[in-house]
């Protein structure tokens, strides 16, 4: 319905036309920002709010102040177990990075059929975590499991990895490392493609080889890949839920719980629906994650500045 051009007055450009450059990016961002605010930011504050209440998810919320936090941080043994297990996950899961790097270095060569090997190594990452968990729990079975069959060949006694509270968490972490190593391997393989062959050549002329070559020439060029591998591994460790749920269901007697699983148990499981307490756990987990996220953002910011 545009009017005919008016010959008498200067064509007045519309507000949008005048501000197009500044406004358009925001228009494109708007839907994303809206959904992020509604589905991520708002629930975070909702969780904070719920964590100050006692609530079964159905009836009225009862304000209890900081009682949930006092109970949680004042010697709740389930919380302590979960917290230490989270730390174990965080540290041991990082083993995926050196393991992924060594497999990537091994596979980074031009041999006939190398693509097939690469895809085979990448395969576990494609599997659902639930499948990985099931396969490993069969592997660990106390009587029929492959692990005990192998141990029997070397003469070691049968072990029940997932049934023993002192080994169960490590057993689950080992299962989690399988796909995570594959992920790190892929990150490093793409990173290795970007390594400058001239620098390798120059280093070789200077007599560098083996560890020195790796440490001083290759690894610095892989820094972006290492950073990403670090981020995804840390986040993966803190999100470790599905493996635990499938392999031990938090047991034996709660020894393999982590914070996310404890949160789920308290608030959403069959015997749960203590939403306030579950929300308090969520808040604590949120702050632990926030610590890492802030660190990542900060180091990314530093890199950006250094790059300019």
């Amino acid at each position: 319905m545009t009017a005919l051009p008016d010959p008498t007055s200067q064509p007045q450009r519309s507000w949008y036309k005048r501000n197009e450059i500044a406004v358009t990016p925001w228009l494109f961002l708007l839907p994303g920002m809206f959904f992020f605010a509604f589905y991520v930011i708002y629930p975070i504050f909702q969780s904070f709010w719920i964590s100050f209440h006692e609530w079964d998810g159905l009836g009225e919320k009862v304000w209890v102040g900081t009682a949930n936090y006092e109970r949680l941080l004042g010697g709740d043994r389930k919380f302590e177990t979960s917290f230490w297990n989270n730390l174990k996950w965080l540290f041991l899961y990082l083993l995926a990075i050196p393991a992924g790097l060594s497999i990537a270095l091994l596979l980074n060569q031009k041999v006939r059929g190398i693509r097939l090997y690469k895809s085979l190594f990448f395969f576990p990452f494609v599997l659902s975590q639930v499948v990985v968990g099931l396969v490993f729990s069969w592997f660990y079975l106390p009587r029929e499991g492959l692990l005990n069959a192998i141990l029997a060949v070397v003469g070691a006694g049968p072990v029940n990895i997932l049934g023993d509270p002192s080994t169960a968490t490590y057993g689950i972490i080992a299962a989690g490392l399988w796909p995570q190593t594959a992920y790190c391997m892929i990150l490093y393989l793409t990173g290795l493609n970007a390594v400058d062959p001239e620098q390798i050549e120059a280093a070789r002329l200077d007599g560098a080889k083996g560890h020195r070559m790796l440490w001083h020439v290759v690894l610095p060029q892989l820094k972006p890949a290492t950073f990403i591998a670090f981020v995804v591994t840390i986040i993966g460790a803190l999100r470790s839920f599905d493996l635990i749920s499938v392999m031990t269901n938090g047991g034996p007697f709660g020894s393999t719980r982590v914070l996310s699983f404890y949160m789920y148990e308290e608030s959403l499981s069959e015997f749960g629906f203590r939403m306030g307490y579950g929300a308090a756990i969520a808040v604590v987990l949120f702050f632990i994650m926030l610590f890492f996220i802030v660190y990542f953002l900060w180091s990314m910011y530093q890199d950006e500045r250094g790059g300019r």
Partner: protein, 421 residues
């Protein structure tokens, strides 16, 4: 027009004929909708539920029945959403304390009037399990006994007989252990199976009433009587009565020990009989006995979990729903759906007959004649949810590390003081 008229005349005539025979309200013609969400998702229960809906539909041709069957485990958490948003007219759930959250939140319809005005004849015996705050909140449709299922052939081989006292039970177990087998199969990965053992040991050591006091939070977990229960339990653990690594198995996985002849008995509910038969055990090979006496002066209490139907308070077709509850609990329907080739459990209506199945007959005789102490639901249904989850975890730990008992009991006592306010 003519055909409709003819049909309604015919229906009237049929109704007139039928009222004489069916005086309990089935004759009333229903129309409109009836939405049912059921958790009877295992193969046999599913067929029963579908049959119920079909038969009810045939009785009331104008009624539009919409049946949705959801996974039994998933339903335990989904029910909350189902009851609050767009509620159906009939849902499945469990009796006793497990109704608590929904009764307190006002999400189950109070149907006390149906019990009072005689709409539900024959349910007096099971009324108690449906009662909270002095009102009834639903109807049961099936229940089943717990007890000791054992390998008859293995008992014969070792010259053992069904024990009636705990000493005999332990003596039997010693002989089984000496023969290189295990006495009891159990899989505690999902914890609740350990709850069954505690229920029985505690009811036999201290009596049904004490057990219920404990469930209501009136007794301390560190009480000497509770310790006595655990001391009895420890006798079995110390003699190596249970299969190894039970914390790694589900109850179904542990069943293999019994079907393979590595374990002689299994304290479990009657639902385990079907998988035992499926695994190739004939009725000559399996049998059942009541959990033996520990303190002979105490009348026996039994576990008999009851599954139920309820009307959500937000349902839109409550009259149809009520008619359906009447239909499900009527004597004939109860006989039919609980028979050996259907659910294979016990009917809730006193006027129903129990199917000719050796386990159902024994279970029915035991519960109606030999459970004078009282009938409990089950550990995870009698205890409040949070206490049940903390408790069963402690029970599992005790079965693996009996030396941790003091620590476990203190933890449970802490939980008790916090949970019951």
């Amino acid at each position: 027009m003519r055909s409709i008229l003819k049909a309604s005349v015919a229906a009237l005539g049929f109704a007139a004929l039928a009222t004489g025979a069916v005086a309990d309200g089935h004759g009333k013609k229903l129309s409109g909708d009836l939405r049912i969400i059921s958790d009877m998702s295992n193969p046999a229960p599913r067929a029963v539920m579908e049959g119920l809906a079909k038969e009810f539909g045939e009785k009331h041709p104008d009624l539009n029945i919409d049946l949705e069957i959801v996974d039994r485990e998933a339903w335990k958490t989904q029910i909350r959403n189902a009851l609050t948003a767009n509620a159906p007219d009939v849902v499945n759930w469990y009796a006793a304390n497990r109704m608590g959250p929904y009764v307190n939140a006002g999400l189950f319809e109070d149907i006390s009037d149906m019990y009072e005005n005689g709409d539900l004849p024959g349910l007096d015996a099971v009324k108690g399990a449906m009662t909270l705050d002095g009102k009834q909140w639903g109807v049961p449709y099936t229940y089943y006994q717990w007890g000791m299922y054992y390998r008859e052939d293995m008992f014969k081989e070792l010259g053992l007989t069904e024990p009636t006292t705990f000493e005999e039970e332990l003596a039997n177990c010693q002989k089984i252990v000496d023969s290189g087998k295990k006495c009891y199969a159990i899989g505690t990965k999902f914890l609740w199976t350990a709850g069954g053992w505690f229920d029985y040991l505690n009811m036999r050591t201290n009596g049904f009433d004490f057990h219920m006091q404990l469930a209501r939070g009136e007794v301390e977990w560190t009480d000497a009587r509770v310790r006595e229960t655990f001391a009895n339990w420890r006798k079995i653990i110390d003699m190596g009565g249970y299969i190894d690594d039970h914390q790694s198995y589900s109850w179904q996985e542990a069943l293999k020990f019994m079907t393979d002849g590595e374990a002689a008995s299994y304290l479990i509910g009657n639902f385990a009989v079907a998988p035992m038969r499926d695994a190739g055990l004939s009725d000559d090979q399996i049998d059942f006995y009541q959990f033996p006496l520990i303190d002979a002066s105490l009348p026996q209490g039994e576990d008999a979990p009851t599954d139920t139907f309820h009307i959500p308070a937000n349902a839109s077709n409550k009259d149809n729903a009520r008619a359906f509850l009447q239909f499900v609990t009527s004597a004939d329907v109860q006989t039919k759906i609980n028979s050996g080739d259907a659910l294979g459990q016990l009917p809730v209506n006193a006027a129903s007959s129990v199917d000719a199945d050796e386990f159902l007959e024994q279970g029915f005789a035991m519960l109606s004649g030999n459970a004078k102490g009282g009938v409990a639901q089950f550990f995870d249904r009698d205890f409040p949810a949070e206490m049940a989850s903390v408790g069963m975890e402690g029970l599992q730990e005790f079965m693996v590390f009996p030396d941790n008992l003091d620590d476990i009991l203190e933890r449970l006592e802490d939980a008790r003081q916090r949970i019951y306010k």
